[in-house]
């Protein structure tokens, strides 16, 4: 059944109908013959968020490059379309061919944000697929997950047949083919999963059992069968130059969040900020060569028609030869009115100079992330930025013609005191003053203060989340003290952070909680206009669980809910970093200080190209 043709002439009833029509430039539409292995990539958030996600685009183009694979896309329908589909009795459908999601052989979900779990089960439900792996069999599509929150996907794990841990480019084709081989041999779903759990990086949640302490936490996490591996090791791409990267990117009609050409220049970061999950879980650092980047840029810009090229990575300014790269890119493309953008800047004059170089064509805002208000707290989180560096960088930015600066801070960090909050206020004041002095124009300062959530696989994974009352007090202090013309303050909804903490840190007992909240209407929980805290309180209560079990800290002596995943960085290293945080001690970046910090990643991935020179 072609669902899209039944719904197309009713789409005028929904907000942003262009989310659901597909047909973008570079869309790949294949004939759906019976020989084809049909894969649907599902993104559990809106089109404009999903289409800004690099991972799904890499996989879309990579899978479609295989002649015998057909790969299409679906995004979470906004509630208006969901209601329309349910009214009309129509299921979730793919953008390319408009087929029912349930007609695909494999459905892959991107796990990129803890607050999108209700959307995952909503999409399964809209596809008429049972939510739990235990209720599915060979007649249903294989439901797989992958992405950046797999380091602790436990709350959503019971919904998945298998989860791939790590970077999928070099493994996904094998995984698909293996599944079809077993399926064609006539094996049932359970046996297939058991066999597939032997593949590297493949985590089959149903092959493990979990026991819990009376006090709340996880007691033990064990394979159900002797042949099942105890821990699942994250898989990585050894050499970015050799790995697949698309050039004929989809070009959306819609003005999506990141509407530009993107080249991932490097993966991983060794700065070692102690709050940052990505900084710990994407190691080791691997760089794409300058030659390859230039070659990709040429092709991508030609095939997409984009006028902006973004150089992405966790810390692009740390790219070894960033100055030459930027110079060569601007030399080559500024004549075509193409601007280069760097999404993340270090706080120093070098970064501003670099930004100035790339923004010759267009001048957007500049973002700096001091993260904390005092030198002391920045030592705790291992963000070794001096206040002077910030002021110098800001002055340089205003002098070079920028008049919009964004500053990122966090509150609720371990050991935080009143002084640290006062520090945020005085830093903002000082930046305001510098703006007035140097630019003479009206400057715009956007201050974003988010609430810290201790994430798995960081040195702070054991610590408690700050309670709501205290966060609210801190937020109101900042609201009262950061104001004035041209200053804009934004912060996180404390209730939302609580649920995010729950999902980031929780275990499998939360799956029924997600289901209950969803049944009562929870959708798009990361969206302020739809988030409803009472649904979550209610769902937890009905499951006899408490927030505190998951967000009041875990004892270092006990088993963590995510202990069966091997992300590559040693537990001892993380624990040692935690100790150093408490004694306000910095750990240098091994790339720049040339001294190994012993995180353990090089031992896990000896083949990775760690730019040994």
């Amino acid at each position: 059944m072609i669902v899209s043709s039944k719904i197309e002439n009713k789409l005028y009833k929904v907000e942003k109908p262009e989310r659901y029509i597909g047909r973008e430039w570079n869309q790949i539409k294949k004939e759906g013959t019976t020989q084809k292995k049909k894969i649907l990539l599902c993104f559990p958030d809106t089109y404009e968020i999903g289409m800004s996600h690099l991972g799904i685009k890499i996989l879309y183009h990579l899978l479609n490059k295989q002649e015998d694979i057909l790969c299409e896309r679906a995004f979470a329908p906004w509630i208006d379309l969901e209601n329309l589909l349910r009214e009309e009795g129509l299921p979730l459908f793919s953008l390319e061919s408009g087929h029912r999601a349930g007609d695909f052989d494999i459905i892959g979900f991107t796990l990129q944000y803890e607050m999108s779990y209700t959307n995952i089960i909503n999409m399964l439900d809209l596809a008429n697929i049972p939510l739990y792996t235990e209720d599915r069999d060979g007649s249903h599509p294989l439901i797989i997950g992958g992405g950046s929150t797999v380091y602790n996907s436990e709350p959503a794990a019971p919904f998945f047949d298998l989860i791939f841990i790590g970077e999928a480019e070099d493994f996904i084709i094998d995984l698909v083919n293996t599944y079809f081989n077993f399926k064609n041999q006539g094996l049932n779903r359970k046996d297939i999963l058991k066999k597939m759990s032997k593949l590297p990086g493949v985590y089959v949640p149903s092959m493990y059992e979990v026991s819990y302490h009376k006090s709340g936490g996880v007691k033990e996490f064990n394979p159900k069968f002797p042949e099942i591996k105890k821990t699942i090791k994250r898989q990585i791409v050894n050499d970015l130059d050799q790995s697949f990267y698309p050039t004929g990117f989809l070009v959306p009609f819609m003005d999506i969040v990141h509407n530009r050409a993107v080249i991932e220049v490097a993966r991983g970061c060794t700065r070692g900020c102690r709050f940052c999950a990505a900084g710990m879980t994407y190691r080791p650092v691997r760089e794409r060569s300058k030659e390859r980047i230039l070659e990709l840029a040429e092709k991508i810009l030609e095939k997409t028609g984009y006028s902006e090229l973004s150089l992405n990575s966790l810390s692009t300014v740390d790219y070894s030869d960033i100055e030459t790269l930027v110079k060569e890119l601007t030399d080559r493309f500024s004549g075509q009115k193409i601007s280069i953008s760097l999404p993340s800047l270090r706080i120093d004059e070098f970064s501003v100079r670099l930004a100035e170089e790339v923004q010759k064509v267009r001048k957007s805002g500049l973002t700096f992330a001091p993260e904390a208000g005092t030198e002391r707290l920045r030592r705790v989180i291992n963000k070794g930025v001096g206040e002077k560096d910030l002021y110098q960088a800001v002055r340089a930015a205003f002098n070079s013609g920028w008049d919009r600066i964004k500053l990122y801070f966090m509150i609720g960090l371990p050991t935080e005191t009143r002084k640290d909050l006062e520090g945020i206020v005085s830093m903002v004041d000082r930046v305001k003053k510098i703006g007035r002095q140097t630019s003479g124009r009206r400057t715009n300062i956007e201050v974003s203060v988010s609430s810290f959530i201790p994430k798995p696989f960081t040195p702070f994974q054991w610590v408690a989340m700050e309670n709501r009352e205290s966060i609210e007090k801190k937020q109101s202090y900042l609201r009262n003290n950061i104001k004035g013309r041209g200053v804009h303050l934004s912060w996180n909804e404390p209730d939302m952070s609580l649920v995010e903490g729950l999902m980031a840190r929780g275990d499998r007992r939360l799956a029924p909680v997600i289901e209950k909240a969803w049944q009562k209407g929870a959708r798009f929980d990361g969206w302020n206009e739809l988030f409803d805290f009472s649904l979550w309180e209610d769902a937890l209560h009905k499951s006899n669980l408490k927030f505190s079990t998951f967000i009041s800290g875990y004892s270092p002596e006990k088993c963590l809910p995510w202990a069966h995943i091997n992300m590559g960085v040693d537990r001892e290293f993380l624990y040692n970093e935690y100790k150093k945080a408490l004694s306000e001690e910095l750990t240098p970046d091994c790339r720049h200080e040339g001294r190994c910090t012993g995180c353990g990643i090089n031992l896990l991935f000896p083949e990775a190209d760690l730019y040994a020179d």
């Binding site: 005028y12 047909r23 009609f253 028609g305 984009y306």
Partner: protein
């Protein structure tokens, strides 16, 4: 130099908005490597102007755009190159160079032709209805305006012609643009207020068939000699 092109926006892309359509064109010009002219300033973009926006959900058979080029290439070559780089559902039909001082599309185009796919709840006599409709001296409707108060408006002087091409396919030629704008939904509303068997129709049942410059009671395409040299 200015090039004025007529294009179709068809069903596959009828839900994309005016601004999205402009972005789509700009990217297709870049892919086609047209010698497009750019605006000055911090945020340079290709100089492109479209006529009156087509409502989201409506198909347009004959829409127009003005594009400024910084080097001349044959108009037919420009059409081919752009068409090879446009997504399915948008297609340039014809393009002509026009004088630099020609009136802009928004200023010149003053007439639109709409096709309505009608819906009836009982028997109707289309010719009779349209005759009665156009015979009225006054066709008052209430115009709803975003962030502004509703106002009463007489549509009659802004309606030029009405005919039924088939029982359910009605064509209206109406005034559009700054000198008096008729929204097709208002015509539908006025009709259903007059006749009880006419149901209201959604935007997807309306097609903008043509955009013209009306001069001495005649309709001209906006790139006609007589118009651009005016």
């Amino acid at each position: 130099m200015l090039i004025r092109a007529e294009f179709k926006k068809l069903k596959p892309v009828r839900y994309i908005s005016h601004l999205e359509l402009m972005d789509t064109f700009r990217r297709s010009f870049r892919r086609a490597r047209l010698p497009a002219a750019y605006s000055q300033g911090y945020n340079p973009h290709i100089k492109l102007a479209l006529g009156q926006p087509l409502p989201v959900g409506m198909v347009g058979f004959s829409e127009y755009l003005d594009l400024e080029l910084c080097a001349q290439i044959p108009a037919s070559e420009a059409v081919n190159r752009i068409n090879n780089n446009l997504p399915q559902g948008i297609k340039i039909s014809e393009a002509h160079y026009i004088p630099d001082d020609a009136k802009s599309l928004q200023a010149a185009v003053n007439t639109a032709v709409y096709l309505f796919v009608m819906k009836f709840s009982g028997p109707v006599q289309p010719e009779q209805i349209l005759q009665n409709f156009m015979a009225r001296n006054k066709i008052e409707i209430t115009r709803h305006r975003r962030n502004k108060k509703d106002r009463r408006l007489d549509l009659r002087p802004l309606l030029y012609e009405a005919e039924a091409e088939a029982e359910k396919l009605w064509r209206f030629t109406v005034s559009t643009g700054s000198s008096g704008n008729v929204r097709p939904s208002e015509v539908v509303r006025a009709l259903s207020e007059q006749e009880e068997n006419l149901e209201s129709i959604p935007v997807v049942n309306i097609i903008r068939e043509g955009m013209f410059v009306r001069k001495d009671e005649k309709l001209y395409k906006p790139f006609s000699e007589i118009i651009v040299n005016d």
